[in-house]
């Protein structure tokens, strides 16, 4: 049974979303309220286990009285607020932001983005064939995971997960600035020379597949990666007594990657190197 902490009782705020009156507990974000009200607002950099950085700006909505659009993922709801999620202005910004992203990075492994591009009629091609894009080769310097920055949208989730929000290892950071900003370890060296402890929590939160298991990366390259043929089995990690839940993703009777349920009160989706990557012994059939 999953135990969810209810916390102390919170006051309910009353405000309006798209003309409808809604109530949300104090401290909720506009996005929380939208989702409770059954409204879909696209998000990329928002994650269920992290404080959103509101860097991607895909979730912008209109709030009456605000000069600019506001990110629904991190703006707290206030009583009396008048929020509009689907105005021409908000849709225009989302469309352009999606075009800017899709024209500069490879979104082929980003879930849901193809649907949003269609919904907002985004045309990333209109910036021309010479539009600058993040042109990076995948960095493969260890057997556990691959960094493919061609797919990175700089959402900062890996930095936060590695840093003070979960892992406290602080092995990765954003370096450089502007369009040249990239995610990197210290001195931009290989992962093996860095402070990385290979917990893989950065892969867990990566929304685009820029960070992926070596197994997944290799299978994608070989054309054998098939999510529809995979099953997920949640079990308990056998390495120590903490009791972390593992979800084993299995294709053709082989474990291809390991995740952890985000609503698990022990892990919140995080694991250590053994739970995340130490599954080879399971399939050692000699």
């Amino acid at each position: 049974m999953t135990v969810t902490s209810l916390g102390i009782p919170r006051r309910l705020l009353e405000f309006r979303i798209d003309g409808e009156s809604v109530r949300a507990p104090e401290g909720s974000t506009i996005l929380d309220a939208c989702r409770s009200a059954g409204k879909d607002v696209p998000t990329l950099c928002q994650g269920d286990t992290l404080t959103p950085k509101n860097a991607c700006r895909v979730c912008v909505v209109e709030v009456e009285g605000a000069r600019t659009l506001v990110p629904a993922c991190s703006r707290k709801a206030e009583a009396g607020m008048e929020v509009r999620t689907d105005t021409e202005r908000a849709r225009h910004s989302r469309k352009v932001v999606l075009e800017l992203l899709a024209s500069s990075v490879d979104l082929s492994t980003t879930p849901e983005v193809a649907g949003w591009l269609k919904e907002y009629e985004a045309k990333p091609d209109r910036f021309g064939p010479d539009a600058a894009c993040v042109d990076e080769q995948p960095r493969i310097d260890n057997d556990l995971y691959v960094r493919d920055y061609d797919k990175c949208i700089l959402c900062y989730k890996c930095v936060d997960a590695c840093g003070d929000q979960w892992q406290n290892t602080f092995a990765i950071s954003v370096v450089g600035r502007g369009f040249d900003a990239r995610i990197a370890v210290e001195h931009d060296g290989p992962l093996t020379d860095s402070a990385c402890v290979y917990c893989g929590n950065c892969i867990e939160v990566c929304p685009t597949g820029a960070l992926s298991f070596k197994s997944e990366f290799d299978m994608r390259a070989a054309g054998t990666w098939d999510e529809s043929a995979q099953t997920g089995t949640t079990t308990v990690c056998a390495y120590c007594g903490v009791g972390c839940n593992l979800t084993l993703h299995v294709q053709d009777n082989e474990i291809v990657k390991v995740t952890s349920p985000h609503d698990n009160p022990v892990t919140h989706g995080n694991l250590c190197i053994k739970g995340r990557f130490g599954y080879q012994h399971v399939q050692n059939r000699d």
Partner: protein, 607 residues
């Protein structure tokens, strides 16, 4: 936090540079040789992490001494400050003036921004580069605005060593720039700050009255010219009285946002959380702006006094002066002024014997326009990347180190002195009903007498340009700098007030007035503006990070085209510009498109 440091070791010189700033390491945990005592003692925790804000000064210390930051130096600095090396590397690579790759000890920054570009900076730069080839030991860097627009074109030479040497050459020629780079010590002294004030000596000046009149190095001279009477008045009426006066005077921020200063101070002063901080934003990096530099160089004590008054009003005992890294003389003058004020009891535990404690710490920027944004500036001081934070919460509630903070720019602060000496009603009588007081304007470009002008709000653009000796065949005027907007030569009757410029569909911004005659190729100028924003975007949010690149690309495509050939790209520019304005996190992305948009709409740039 279990920090991991690589095997790289600092050189003796790098270590000495860091130890001069931080003192010698106390134990092997901080990089000293291991002793027996270290086996039974660990240093860490909050006390060690609390020194993170020394990261930027530490990076400066290494850079000043060596000229670049090596792996060993960065790791040693991280060990001393308990900062993860990945984060420190992210910080070091954020600033344009720092290099994490080996480069010559001498760097010559040649300004290629608006005023300098109009004065032929690109040809100058090419020739300087040709003269200072690979064997010269000088690295020539094309730089964004150096804040020397009244003396365009400008160059700044920085020679690493102990101590670091700098030489400013403006207006520069190929010979002068080469001389400054090859021997900064023998380069001619910069002209006095007063030369940037064509009205210097005019008794009617309020803010600039002392520039060129007092000796900027002498506290006594400052006091002989009315210095510290405003602070005495502040102590006489108390903090609430100061805030009341500033509010009644109608002072609004001069940095560009025009927020009422009294309201900001009141909101900070009334916060229950403590300590409160005062931050003076002296990071003016807006191309075309140089007023804060001239005030700091010509009348440094006025800023020290004004900061003391502001801190007293908001209940702060510590103030930070965040000063542009490209202003060596302003840095020297402010360091000297703060030191003198401290020695004479005008800063410290007991200011003027009134039992009020206040001191100022200077923080040098390292080349990042975005650090002029208030929350990015806080991050920079705290030792993080200079990326803006989302608002709310606003700085008055959670600012520097998460505490209530009042942040004001130099010009805003020095306005407090006349408010207290002449009284709020007399001050409010200057200017117009809603834009009160005197205003500084930075005039440069196609004028005979470029410099800083002080006029009461309400003078027209034409009157200001007349004063500066505008040249014939004026093509356009850029108001408010790169984040501002262009106006036409037939719009010179626009009153220079916040409401007047707003009514005319433009902005006063920080008071930049850049005049361009018809010899300046407009499309190239617009391209330079786009390049500036692309270069200065912090990269945090998508609309700004990618939008500035897409805009520059479109402007490149249409640089030689007009009319129907340019129409599709102009539509594209507008669509991207609108999203940037609406969806960017901070003012940089929100205003990056303004100047180009105004050039298209008001000047018909591509028709």
């Amino acid at each position: 936090m279990d920090l991991h440091f690589g095997d790289s070791k600092p050189t003796d010189e790098e270590q000495a540079a860091i130890d001069t700033l931080l003192g010698p390491p106390e134990s092997s945990w901080e990089g000293a040789d291991r002793s027996d005592a270290d086996l039974r003692w660990a240093r860490g925790g909050r006390a060690a992490r609390d020194r993170r804000d020394l990261l930027l000064p530490g990076l400066h210390a290494v850079h000043d001494r060596i000229g670049w930051i090596s792996e060993g130096a960065l790791d040693y600095l991280c060990r001393r400050l308990t900062v993860p090396p990945a984060e420190a590397y992210g910080v070091a690579t954020f600033y344009a003036m720092f290099s994490v790759k080996p480069r010559p000890a001498t760097v010559l920054h040649v300004c290629t921004d608006l005023a300098c570009a109009a004065a032929g900076a690109s040809e100058l730069c090419a020739e300087v580069e040709a003269r200072l080839g690979p064997g010269s030991g000088v690295s020539v860097e094309r730089s964004p605005c150096l804040g020397l627009c009244e003396r365009a074109p400008a160059a700044l030479a920085v020679k690493a060593g102990d101590p670091v040497r700098t030489a400013v050459s403006a207006p520069t020629t190929v010979e002068r720039a080469v001389l400054a780079a090859s021997s900064p010590d023998s380069a001619p002294e910069e002209p006095a700050a007063a030369l940037a004030v064509p009205q210097a000596g005019d008794p009617s000046l309020t803010l600039l009255g002392r520039v060129g009149v007092v000796d900027p190095a002498s506290l006594d001279d400052y006091r002989a010219h009315g210095g510290y009477t405003a602070l005495r008045q502040a102590f006489a009426i108390g903090p609430a009285g100061v805030i009341r006066e500033v509010t009644d005077a109608g002072l609004v921020g001069r940095g560009g946002a025009a927020f009422p200063t009294g309201r900001k101070w009141q909101a900070t002063a009334s916060q229950p959380d403590h300590p409160h901080y005062l931050v003076c934003n002296a990071d003016e990096s807006e191309p075309g702006t140089f007023k804060d530099r001239v005030v700091m160089e010509g009348d440094p004590y006025s800023l020290v006094e004004a900061m003391t008054i502001a801190a007293y009003a908001v209940g702060a005992h510590k103030g930070y002066l965040y000063l542009r890294g490209e202003y060596p003389r302003a840095l020297r003058r402010m360091e000297h002024a703060i030191g003198q004020a401290r020695a004479r009891g005008l800063l410290g535990d007991d200011v003027l014997g009134q039992g009020y404690a206040f001191d100022i710490e200077i923080r040098r920027g390292a080349g990042a326009y975005i650090c002029g944004e208030e929350t990015a500036l806080f991050n920079s001081i705290e030792g993080y990347r200079g990326e803006p934070r989302s608002k709310p919460p606003f700085p008055v509630e959670k600012g520097l180190f998460g505490k209530p903070t009042a942040e004001n720019n130099v010009e805003t602060l020095v306005n407090v002195l006349p408010i207290l000496t002449m009284g709020a009603p007399a001050y409010a009588a200057i200017g117009t009903g809603t834009s009160t007081g005197p205003k500084l304007f930075c005039v440069s470009g196609s004028v005979d007498r470029p410099g800083i002008y002080e006029l009461p709000f309400g003078a027209t653009l034409g009157e200001l340009l007349e004063l500066a000796g505008v040249r014939e065949r004026l093509r356009a005027v850029l108001l408010g700098g790169a984040a501002g907007g262009f106006v036409r030569p037939d719009e010179l009757d626009i009153p220079l007030t916040f409401e007047g410029t707003r009514a005319a569909g433009t902005t006063l911004g920080s008071g930049v007035v850049l005049a361009f005659d018809d010899t300046v190729p407009l499309p190239r100028l617009l391209l330079r503006i786009a390049e500036f924003f692309r270069d200065e975007s912090c990269g945090q949010c998508v609309p700004c990070r990618v939008g500035t690149v897409r805009q520059e690309e479109a402007l490149h495509r249409i640089v030689e085209r007009t009319g129907a050939d340019a129409a599709a790209d102009i539509t594209l520019l507008r669509e991207v510009g609108r999203a940037m304005k609406d969806a960017s996190i901070c003012g940089l992305g929100q205003t990056a498109w303004n100047a180009v948009e105004s050039a298209i709409d008001r000047l018909g740039a591509y028709e």
